[in-house]
Every structure is written in structure tokens, then in C-alpha cells.
């Protein structure tokens, strides 16, 4: 808990007082009012996507580990199926990541 606190202080201090002026200058130079909202949307969207993806992957992994504990003989095939399932779940979060990257870096709407 203390480590988390220290990390938070360090991060906040780095953002507030640290040499992060490069990013601030970049954000200010692009102009327009859509840009900041695109950044906010990218952050919130990625947070929601990765959070729900974590829930889904956690459920999948939990039942896979459960099945492996019950049937150790079939562990290999269960693991393969689990990895494929995890990849398919993860690709949904990656779609949001691609959209977030487009919002941040390509910026189709200024």
C-alpha cells in the first residue's frame, strides 16, 4: 500500500513538476477543440475495454484451471483451447486499442 502511495506521488510529481513539457507543447500546438476530447475518449474507452476484457479472461482462465485440476490428463488440450479463447477475447479489446490509437495518432477529426 505504501509502495502504491509512493508510486502515485512520484507519478503525480513527474506530471506536475517534471520535464513533461514536451507533451504539453505538442497537445497545445495541434489546436481545435476535438483533440482533447479524442484523448479523453481514447483513455476512457481503453479503460472500459481492458477492464471488461480482464473480467472475461478471468472467467475463462478460472474455469480452465478448474477443469485442469479435475482432469490433469487433459491439461494440454484444455490449455490450447484456453489460449485460443483468450486470444479471441483479447482481440475485442484490441479493436478498441486500434480505435484509441487512431484517435490519438491519426486524428481523423481535428
Amino acid at each position: 500500500m505504501r509502495l502504491v502511495f509512493v508510486l502515485t506521488v512520484v507519478a503525480v510529481a513527474a506530471v506536475l513538476a517534471g520535464p513533461s513539457g514536451v507533451w504539453a507543447a505538442e497537445a497545445g500546438a495541434s489546436g481545435g477543440w476535438v483533440g482533447p476530447f479524442a484523448v479523453i475518449a481514447a483513455g476512457i474507452g481503453m479503460a472500459i475495454a481492458s477492464g471488461l476484457c480482464a473480467l472475461g479472461q478471468g472467467r475463462a482462465t478460472a474455469s480452465a484451471v478448474d477443469a485442469m485440476a479435475r482432469q490433469p490428463g487433459a491439461a494440454g488440450r484444455i490449455q490450447t483451447a484456453m489460449i485460443i479463447g483468450l486470444a479471441l477475447i483479447e482481440s475485442l479489446a484490441l479493436y478498441v486499442f486500434v480505435i484509441a490509437a487512431i484517435l490519438l495518432f491519426v486524428q481523423p477529426v481535428k
Binding site: A13, T80, I84, S91, Y95
Partner: protein, 248 residues
């Protein structure tokens, strides 16, 4: 993206970076394969032994997933897997670019898989039966099933390409952000002010530890895992196209 990514170590003018490094991956793979198969021995040693072990993994996967007919597709699957794995690992070297972190490379691989498994399916069971299979099991569901099947087939190359690209690019952006944060904290500490030294030094040390102890091993794991998943899904699609012929 160029704002936070490190510029590549060497670049050929007029050629996109991912293409340059695709050529580099090709050179690496060709040189290693040539060196491994130059003097083939019945009892393999050294590099030949290593490459045989790697290819036997692909063979056993093909036997497991596709079945008795699977060994015909070893060239396609093993080439894709080795190329993607080498590209992914190339991106971990600072100053080099992973070709798979550009969507054009991954889309090319995914489109190759897409057309190949359709071609395999059509060749195995003929165009008419392959198209008929898209219609589903019951004739009066065919108009609905056709639309669903077409969309699910179109989503396959899209998700193959985007999964690989997203994993690689996401890892690179994460690494670039962490490294720039570390450099910022270190330069803040180097500026000499008291809070800078007190917060910047342990902060940058923590970030370096985090990167070396957690992020890089995670990225190595992801590099292997994504290559495995790409091959696995390609094999599953090929198996799907084949086994429809056996259970009409």
C-alpha cells in the same frame, strides 16, 4: 506515433521501415535455414538439431489440429510462424522495428491465410459443395445463414491482422511511454533540485526495474504467444475447411 517511438537504427531512404525490417527478417531466416540445412546429417547436431526441433513442434501441432492430412500445410504454417516469431522478437531489440507492428505486414499474412484456406476448402470438396456449406444445415435458414457465414468469414482475417498488430504496437507504445517517463525522471533528478533528486532517482530506478523485470519478459512471452496463436488459428481455419469435406 513517431513522436514517442525511437527512430529505427538504420533506414533505407524511400523504403518504409517495416519493409526494410521485413527484408532483414527474410535475410535472417534464409541465412539460418541455409546454415542449418547445408550439410544435412542423419544424426543432427547443433543448428540442424535446433531447427528440426522447432519444425517438429509445428508438425505435432499440425497432426493434433488438422489431422492426418495436415502435414501438407507445413510449409505455409511454419513459414508464417517463423516469420511472425522472428519479427516479433526483432521488435524487442532497441533501435530495430518489428515488421509486425505495422498493420500492412499483418494484413498481408492474414489475407494469405484467408485466401489459402478458402482455396483448400474449394479444392477439397469442389466449389458447389463448398458454397452450399455456407448455407447452413437447413435449407430454409440459408438466407440468414449465408449472411452470418459471410460476415464470420470476413471477420477472420480482420481479427487475425488486428490481433497481431494491436499486441505488437500496444507493447511498443507501452515500452516507449515507460522509457520516456524513466528518462524524464532521470533528467529531472540530474537537474539537481532537492525534490527532483528525492523523487526522480528512486522513481527512475523503480521504472527501470519494472521494465527489465516485468515488461520485457512479458513482451517475450507475448511475442511467442502471438506467433503461436496466429499459427493455431490458421490451422483451425484450414481444419475447418477440410473437415467439412469429411462430414458433409
Amino acid at each position: 506515433m513517431e513522436a514517442i517511438e525511437h527512430p529505427p537504427l538504420f533506414a533505407i531512404p524511400g523504403v518504409p521501415d517495416h519493409l526494410t525490417y521485413t527484408w532483414l527478417v527474410m535475410v535472417i531466416l534464409i541465412v539460418v535455414s541455409a546454415a542449418a540445412s547445408r550439410r544435412l546429417q542423419l544424426v543432427p547436431r547443433g543448428l540442424q538439431n535446433f531447427m528440426e526441433i522447432v519444425l517438429e513442434q509445428f508438425l505435432s501441432l499440425l497432426d493434433d489440429v488438422v489431422g492426418h492430412d495436415g502435414r501438407r500445410y507445413l510449409p505455409l504454417i511454419a513459414t508464417l510462424g517463423l516469420f511472425i516469431l522472428t519479427s516479433n522478437l526483432l521488435g524487442l531489440v532497441p533501435g530495430l522495428v518489428a515488421p509486425t507492428s505495422n498493420i500492412n505486414t499483418t494484413a498481408a499474412c492474414a489475407l494469405i491465410v484467408f485466401f489459402t484456406y478458402h482455396w483448400i476448402g474449394i479444392r477439397k470438396q469442389g466449389l458447389g459443395r463448398y458454397l452450399k456449406h455456407l448455407g447452413g444445415p437447413v435449407w430454409w435458414l440459408a438466407p440468414l445463414m449465408l449472411v452470418v457465414e459471410i460476415f464470420s468469414h470476413l471477420a477472420r482475417p480482420l481479427s487475425l491482422a488486428l490481433r497481431l498488430f494491436g499486441n505488437m504496437t500496444g507493447g511498443h507504445i507501452l515500452l516507449a511511454v515507460i522509457v520516456s517517463l524513466t528518462l524524464g525522471l532521470a533528467s529531472w533528478a540530474a537537474a539537481g533540485s532537492l525534490p527532483g533528486v528525492l523523487l526522480g532517482l528512486p522513481g527512475s530506478a523503480l521504472l527501470v526495474l519494472f521494465t527489465a523485470g516485468f515488461l520485457l519478459p512479458l513482451k517475450i512471452l507475448v511475442a511467442f504467444l502471438q506467433a503461436f496463436i496466429f499459427c493455431m488459428l490458421s490451422m483451425l481455419y484450414i481444419a475447418g475447411a477440410i473437415e467439412e469435406a469429411e462430414h458433409p
